[in-house]
Symmetry: C2
Subunit: 350 residues, 2 copies
Amino acid sequence: MAPVAAAAGPRAALVPSVLDEYGGATRSVLARYLPDEEPRAYLYDLVADYPRRGGRAFRPSLCIATTRAFGGTMQDAILSAVSIELIHNAMLIHDDIEDESEQRRGKPALHRTEGVPVAINAGDALSLLAFQPLIDNRGRLGPYLAMRILEETERMARESAEGQAMELGWRRDNVCDVCEADYLEMVLKKTCWLLAIHPTRVGALIATKGAVDLERFIRFGFLLGAAFQIQDDLLNLEGNAEAYGKELGGDIYEGKRTLMLIRLFEQATDSERTRLERLLGTERAARPLDEIAWVRERMNSYDCIGYARQVAHGLAGAAIHEFEHAFTGVRDSRDKRFIAALPKWVLSRA
Amino acid sequence: MAPVAAAAGPRAALVPSVLDEYGGATRSVLARYLPDEEPRAYLYDLVADYPRRGGRAFRPSLCIATTRAFGGTMQDAILSAVSIELIHNAMLIHDDIEDESEQRRGKPALHRTEGVPVAINAGDALSLLAFQPLIDNRGRLGPYLAMRILEETERMARESAEGQAMELGWRRDNVCDVCEADYLEMVLKKTCWLLAIHPTRVGALIATKGAVDLERFIRFGFLLGAAFQIQDDLLNLEGNAEAYGKELGGDIYEGKRTLMLIRLFEQATDSERTRLERLLGTERAARPLDEIAWVRERMNSYDCIGYARQVAHGLAGAAIHEFEHAFTGVRDSRDKRFIAALPKWVLSRA
């Protein structure tokens, strides 16, 4: 795989350039796994919808880069990378239903156009399709390694479901005493496993055929992923709607337990806390717009946003430090430099 | 495995006795795959709910019986059987949401008590848990056979999702010209693969280590499964509510395209057809009770129920015939006799 021209440019351009390159490779193989057959209108057109909307391909690129950094090749990793991207998209379909999200990647969420029943089923089918490349791994990697990757995938998906369960449960039962440690545990499961822990574990597993201890990637992936999630939540509050691709401020509407909301609960006066609790206990559709604006204003007044930004910076700094441990002994390469640059990059996303 | 006493009794008792025995074996191993850990209230208690409500264990029993009929052992098949039962339960959770079902096995459907978001996520987690025993198959069956079973599982689950997509799509778009051939194709995918085709294919695969051509099981499983589905739909109309475990007549409310409804559309006068189309085009909650009763009465008047019963009998008869082909060369055994007795048994269910 020839390095693209931009890779020779300044360090700041490294991350987008690798994402472009590895994302493109992933997308072209991924397309082969989207069935071109009936039932189209009720299933396979829908299954292909989110993947075709694009996205940064962060997760598959991290998997490919880790494989290469540890001495493997793009071809060793590509099917696992494709699977990761398919699973990510499948989870988005169900997450959007569960979170009652309106938009995804700048267009209506799938269940908004197709209805909840058909969309749930499309999500199920897409997550099944993600298993096919993992089965096909057998050809290049052999059945033992292919099974190990399946095992890793099952673990990752379970962690994700556990994290999602925590978040949905808190919201449904209007749990208002979530502390920062609870929040970070939830993010570890819901976000970090799929975003960073799994791609690095699988990459190293492929390249070293299981010779490297995979536990070392949990801490790095957690720190990187948590910084990513907080930045994502910050963008939901104050990002650029077009670049962000989802409705701004939607998290407050959805009652999502973000670090900013948790901080607000901690800082608020008793009467403010009561008002907040009552608002979040109201059905989503019945939440008055001016109350949402009030929450936003209180978050400003207590500088919850500044606080969250600080925490994200702290996590990203720790991720840079942890990177040295996770990738110790790995010789310098463009792929290694790409991964090293990710903690700073996740904070710079707009 | 010692044959239970009842197995020595009259032929009619053979099916329930094998279901009891193999179902019991499946449930005891299955219990080990239900995590006893947090998050309980928002995830693992819910994941364990449907499996603990019981059920006939038809699918895992058929898998075990096929393995044994082809010369394998209960132990060779048990993990695959457990996985089949887990997948079945996972699908029930999502199906109940998609079909807006109220009850399951005599109790409220999961999403009725937990809400749709938490229930979708629990269904996702349960279907993930179904992969663990298939990965664990590696130990006894080796990685090649374990991978082949995973491949079969992926195929089955995709067929199921395709069938579910067809049914949901017809309902959502109020498609009123579904013909019997469309219906049977949908049932082949939605019901027959998981109920009968997959368990027999996997059973024979395990016992013969891939030496037998699996295509022969498609026709037998289709005929058996289609008879089963039609009988199930008949029970929804006129079964015993307690034994059935779901709300009676719910299918008409849900606008489900059953053979009886399709027959009614074919037999109805133009004005009746228009009335029916309008009723099914109304939102579920707005469908008047007396209109539902009218549909029921028209089905009686055109003897749609008698017609469906006849078709089910024809399919079951063909299944008995096809059994001889699918199990040709397999020597007589209690397991073979159990499978041979299934077509008649599915029609006798009350």
